[in-house]
Amino acid sequence: MENFTNESVDISSLPNYEEVDFRPISRKYLIKTLLQTTGFFAVLLIGCGVLFYLEWNSTYIFGILLVILVWFAFMFWNVFKLQKNYGFALREKDILYRRGFIVNKTTVIPFNRVQHVSTTRGILDKKLGIATLEIFTAGGSGSDIKIPGLEPDLALRLKEAVSKKLAADVS
């Protein structure tokens, strides 16, 4: 306890999380989300085609088609906007993750509150050569973060870096 100090802290001089440079995620993730959206779109279009083939009321079908088209126009626009807003940053003592376009969210997890870290890769991720980094805390699902679209070796390096910080924190 001899090196314990308790000086008052100048709040305005503390490091500001907003001034951090966020690193964007891989462009390949855009391909993934575009593929997923297109796939979903295609399934719905095929559904419409089947309805048309079955000679269902054609005005209804065109109405549905119009709604689907407008919806997906928005979805594709949103995908591009979302991609721009993904970003993460590592500071000495915490990790920051930013995402969202209409509602921009930034989550900050201090390293000494991380429970465990993992990386996951789906089939599409493997084909495209990207991975997702997952960081879990005890704060429930709201505070866990999943950073998608990282190069696999970067994801691994990040994972190791965070784990090392964890280990350093415990000892």
């Binding site: 008052s8 802290v9 709040i11 305005s12 503390l14 490091p15 500001n16 999380y17 907003e18 003592k93 915490d94 969202g100 376009f101 209409i102 509602v103 921009n104 969210k105 930034t106 989550t107 900050v108 997890i109 201090p110 390293f111 000494n112 509150r113 429970q115 805390t137 005890a138 704060g139 429930g140 699902s141 709201g142 505070s143």
Partner: protein
């Protein structure tokens, strides 16, 4: 050398089979009560009754077989070498759960009515942080439960090398009692009368209206009811009859809540030793929980004007939990006097010194947004009402306007009551204009913070802040960016803290 206790895999008490049987049946029927109600009300023929009876018998046998297998497969033991508690279970698939000693949060024993009848105890092992859920053993004899919980708590303590000061917590019984508090019957009565009578009222209204509807449908064609009805004065016509009915309903609803409160909180006892706070309560299930300050993640104190007059304050304590199941690790203690609340407060948060305290309020835009949403909902409700009920258009408009004014006042007062205090040690959120709620959390116990900046707030420089703790989230909406330096301070506080958050 004799084997250490619980070294070999063990089963639950034999009587546990019956307990599991009833629990499974209960779970099954909870999902099926609607069908049962339908069967009763649809006046089944003899044939269907026979089929239903046969089906139920078969189901009962199947459930019993399931319970037996479940009982046989459910085995637990302590792995002394790996320092963990191991549980194997599963009927169709087998699952092995291993809990390292240092992940154990708390070991509690409980007894429900059924367990009391069969003279067994339920043992619950709470874990935190990891992926594994909490583990419960439904039927275990008292001696074994005590033995096991003692071993686990001891093992847990010895596996935690850090925090020497707090290691002594477990030997609470040896320490002297600093203060203790026992709730008397009068207070219980007061709690019952003053708390959620609205809910009881609604319950009773629903109950009676459904019975009335059912009855009137049954007797629609029968002449008995007609003659009966003409004998009686129509209650809806006479004011005194209506008033009487209202009083009966009100008394009934109060009675229900009083009974509920008695069952839940009978014999509530708080006992404070030097490092521990013991809580005991319940008529049906006698719950015993020991609270340690560092386990407490979130503290809420609730009260409304009526309760304030009666000196009743409700305390809600959220402890560290593993999964997102907030209800489970939330402890509710109602009807505490102001002096007890402050005593508990000083126990949980002994050091309360701060060089600053900043108060934040939300922007007025929050009020307009909430008002807009509620008006939208009211409009939809009235539109549906207009379509369904052949009501006079003017009455409807009048009702809608009244609703609108009421909602505006409600939302405005609610908005006015919202407040966030940030000090060096604590974050306190106050809200609610009728029942006021004060939520308090220690800054260093925060797990993560999310700052949300919706598109429509950007122009005004507003953000929503979400504090994630292990006991649940606390959010504060539409606050000006002036708060951000203080958020940075909170990060500093968490990252520089070496205290154990659980």
């Amino acid at each position: 050398m004799s084997p250490k206790p619980f070294e070999n895999p063990q089963r639950q008490s034999e009587i546990g089979v019956i307990l599991i049987f009833f629990l499974t049946l209960y779970k099954l029927f909870r999902g099926l009560w609607a069908i049962a109600a339908y069967l009763i009300f649809s006046t089944p023929s003899g044939k269907t009754l026979l089929y239903v009876g046969l089906g139920l018998t078969v189901l009962g046998i199947l459930v019993f077989m399931y319970s037996y297998v479940y009982y046989r497969k459910f085995q637990f033991h302590i792995d002394y070498e790996n320092e963990s508690f191991v549980l194997q279970k599963g009927v169709f698939s087998s699952e092995v759960i291993e809990i390292p000693f240092d992940k154990i949060q708390q070991v509690n024993t409980e007894q429900s009515l059924l367990q009391r009848l069969t003279n067994v105890h339920k043992l619950v092992i709470d874990t935190a942080g990891g992926k594994e859920k909490e583990v419960s053993i439904h039927a275990i004899s008292k001696t074994k439960a005590n033995q096991l919980s003692a071993i686990l708590m001891e093992a847990k303590e010895s596996s935690q090398t850090e925090a020497e000061v707090e290691t002594s917590t477990i030997s609470a019984e040896k320490e002297g009692i600093v203060w203790s508090y026992k709730m008397d019957i009068l207070t219980l009565l007061k709690i019952g009368i003053s708390s959620n009578y609205f809910r009881g009222l609604i319950l009773i209204a629903v109950f009676f209206s459904s019975i009335y509807q059912e009855l009137s449908r049954w007797f629609q064609d029968s002449e008995i009811l007609d003659s009966y009805m003409t004998d009686l004065p129509d209650p809806s016509n006479s004011v005194s009859g209506l008033l009487l009915a209202g009083i009966v309903v009100l008394l009934g609803s109060i009675l229900i809540t009083v009974i509920e409160v008695f069952i839940k909180y009978f014999n509530l006892k708080l006992q404070r030793t030097k490092s521990n706070l013991q809580l005991q309560m319940g008529l049906k299930t006698n719950r015993k929980v020991s609270l340690q300050p560092r386990r407490v993640q979130l503290l809420q104190i609730k009260s409304n004007p009526v309760q304030k007059c009666l000196n009743l304050h409700e305390m809600q304590i959220s402890l560290a939990n593993s999964e997102n199941s907030l209800g489970k690790s939330k402890i509710k203690i109602p009807g505490l006097g102001k002096e007890i609340v402050s005593k508990v407060n000083t126990f949980l948060y002994p050091e309360e010194k701060s060089s600053f305290q900043e108060i934040f309020k939300p922007h007025i835009i929050l009020f307009f947004r909430k008002l807009f949403i509620s008006i939208l909902m009211i409009s939809v409700a009235f539109y549906v009402l207009f379509l369904l009920v052949q009501l006079n258009f003017q009455t409807l408009v009048l009702l809608a306007v009244l609703c609108f004014i009421g909602m505006t006042i409600y939302q405005f007062l609610l908005f006015k009551s919202l407040r966030l205090h940030i000090s060096e040690e604590f974050i306190i959120k106050k809200h609610g204009f009728w029942s006021s709620v004060e939520g308090r959390l220690e800054t260093f116990k925060i797990q993560a913070i999310t700052i949300r900046e919706p598109y429509f707030y950007q122009k005004r420089d507003l953000v929503n802040i979400l504090f994630h703790t292990a006991g649940g989230d606390v959010s504060f909406h539409a606050v000006h960016k002036d708060i951000l330096p203080y958020i940075n301070f909170v990060f500093y506080k968490i990252e520089s803290s070496e205290k154990n958050w659980m």
